[in-house]
C-alpha cells in the first residue's frame, strides 16, 4: 500500500467535481434579487412615493387635455386607443397620428411602464430617475435624472439605451432634472 499523494488528491477532486450539477445560464435582469431586502424595501417605497407624486398630476392633466383635444379637434390631437376609458372619440389612429410618432400608448400602459421602470433600474444598478413624466403625445416617457448621473453614464443616449432594454422598447428620453424633495435628493 502506498500513501496518499498529490496525484491522488488531484484525481479525487476531479472525481468529486464530476458530480457537479450543470451550469444553467447566467442570471437575467428579471431574476436579479435586490442587494438587501431592507434596503430594497426602503428604496422601493421611496420610488413609489416619488412616482405617485410625479406621475399622478401629470396623468390627470394629460387626461383632461387629451379629452379636450379629442372632442374639440380630432384631426390634430394625439391618437388614443379605442377602448380608452372616458373618451368617446371616433378618431382613427391613421387619421390623427403624426407621421413621426411610431405608436402611442394609453395612459395606463405608460403608468404601468413607469411603475416597472424604477425597480428594474435599481436591480440593474442604473440610476433611479427623479421624475418620470408621460410625454404629451403619449408616445413614451421622459425620465428626469440628476446631471451627475447622466454625466457618469456618458450622456443621455447611453442611458436611454439601457433603460429601453428594461421596458421592452417603450420610447424614452432622458433629460436633466432637479430633486424636489429631500427623499428624491437622496436617490
Amino acid at each position: 500500500m502506498r500513501p496518499l499523494n498529490e496525484y491522488d488528491v488531484r484525481r479525487g477532486l476531479q472525481d468529486i467535481a464530476d458530480q457537479a450539477p450543470p451550469y444553467l445560464g447566467p442570471p437575467t435582469p428579471e431574476t436579479v434579487p435586490p442587494a438587501s431586502t431592507s434596503r430594497a424595501g426602503w428604496l422601493l417605497a421611496a420610488a413609489a412615493v416619488v412616482a405617485v407624486l410625479t406621475i399622478v398630476p401629470v396623468v390627470t392633466a394629460l387626461s383632461e387635455s387629451t379629452d379636450n383635444a379629442v372632442s374639440a379637434e380630432p384631426s390634430s390631437g394625439p391618437s388614443t386607443e379605442p377602448s380608452t376609458e372616458g373618451s368617446s372619440n371616433s378618431a382613427t389612429p391613421s387619421a390623427s397620428t403624426p407621421s413621426e410618432v411610431a405608436r402611442t400608448y394609453t395612459v395606463d400602459e405608460l403608468l404601468e411602464v413607469g411603475d416597472r421602470l424604477r425597480p428594474a433600474a435599481l436591480a440593474a444598478d442604473l440610476p433611479s430617475p427623479i421624475h418620470i413624466v408621460i410625454r404629451e403625445d403619449l408616445s413614451g416617457l421622459t425620465l428626469k435624472l440628476l446631471p451627475d448621473d447622466i454625466a457618469s453614464w456618458g450622456g443621455p443616449a447611453r442611458l436611454v439605451e439601457r433603460y429601453e432594454q428594461l421596458v421592452e422598447g417603450v420610447p424614452l428620453d432622458v433629460v436633466e432634472g432637479v430633486p424636489t424633495s429631500p427623499r428624491a435628493k437622496q436617490n
Binding site: R2, G12, D15, I16, A17, P21, Y23, P26, A124
Partner: protein, 167 residues
C-alpha cells in the same frame, strides 16, 4: 457596470468550470449554483473592461463567497450509489489509480475552509503557489504551509483505512 451580454457570453463558456469549482468547495449542488450566480451578479455590476482576467476574478470571488457564507465545514454528503434507470450504478474505480472519492470527501470535511480552498486551487484548478496566494490574499509561504498541513491532515485521516496508510 458590465453589459449582461458580456458576462453572459463569457459565462456560457466558463459556467461549467465555475460550478465545478464551487461544487468542490461546497460539495452541495444547489449551494454551488447559488455561489456562482452571486459571483456572476457581482461581475455584472462592475465595468466589464475593468476585469482584466475574468476567470481569475471569478475564482477569487467564488472562494470569497464560499468563505463569507460562513461554512466552517464542508457540507459533505455521504456518497451513495446513484440509481440510474432503476439500476444501481457502480463506478469502476481501478484500485490504485483512482482515489476513493468517498474517503477523500470525508477527509476534506475535516479540513478548515482555508485548507480546503488551498488544496482545491492547487490540485483542482492547478494554480501555482503565487496564483493561489493572490486569490487568498496571503503569501506564497503561507500557501505552502497551509497546503502541507492540509495534506498531512488528509493522510492522517485516510490512514485509518488500510488502503491509504500513513507514511
Amino acid at each position: 457596470m458590465s453589459e449582461w451580454s458580456d458576462v453572459g457570453a463569457w459565462a456560457d463558456s466558463a459556467g461549467d468550470s465555475l460550478i465545478r469549482l464551487a461544487f468542490v468547495l461546497t460539495n452541495d449542488g444547489e449551494e454551488a449554483r447559488d455561489v456562482v450566480q452571486a459571483v456572476l451578479l457581482k461581475m455584472m455590476r462592475v465595468p466589464w473592461e475593468s476585469i482584466e482576467n475574468p476567470l481569475a476574478y471569478a475564482r477569487r470571488s467564488i472562494t470569497n463567497e464560499v468563505a463569507s457564507r460562513g461554512r466552517r465545514r464542508v457540507k459533505l454528503r455521504s456518497v451513495t450509489p446513484k440509481l440510474i434507470g432503476g439500476v444501481e450504478a457502480t463506478i469502476p474505480d481501478t484500485a490504485d489509480a483512482v482515489l476513493d472519492r468517498q474517503q477523500l470527501m470525508q477527509a476534506m470535511e475535516r479540513l478548515s475552509v482555508r485548507q480546503r480552498t488551498v488544496l482545491v486551487l492547487r490540485y483542482f484548478e492547478d494554480l501555482d503557489d503565487r496564483a493561489t496566494a493572490e486569490i487568498l490574499g496571503c503569501s506564497t509561504a503561507t500557501v505552502r504551509s497551509v497546503s502541507a498541513r492540509a495534506l498531512t491532515k488528509l493522510r492522517k485521516h485516510m490512514s485509518t483505512t488500510e488502503r491509504w496508510p500513513a507514511k
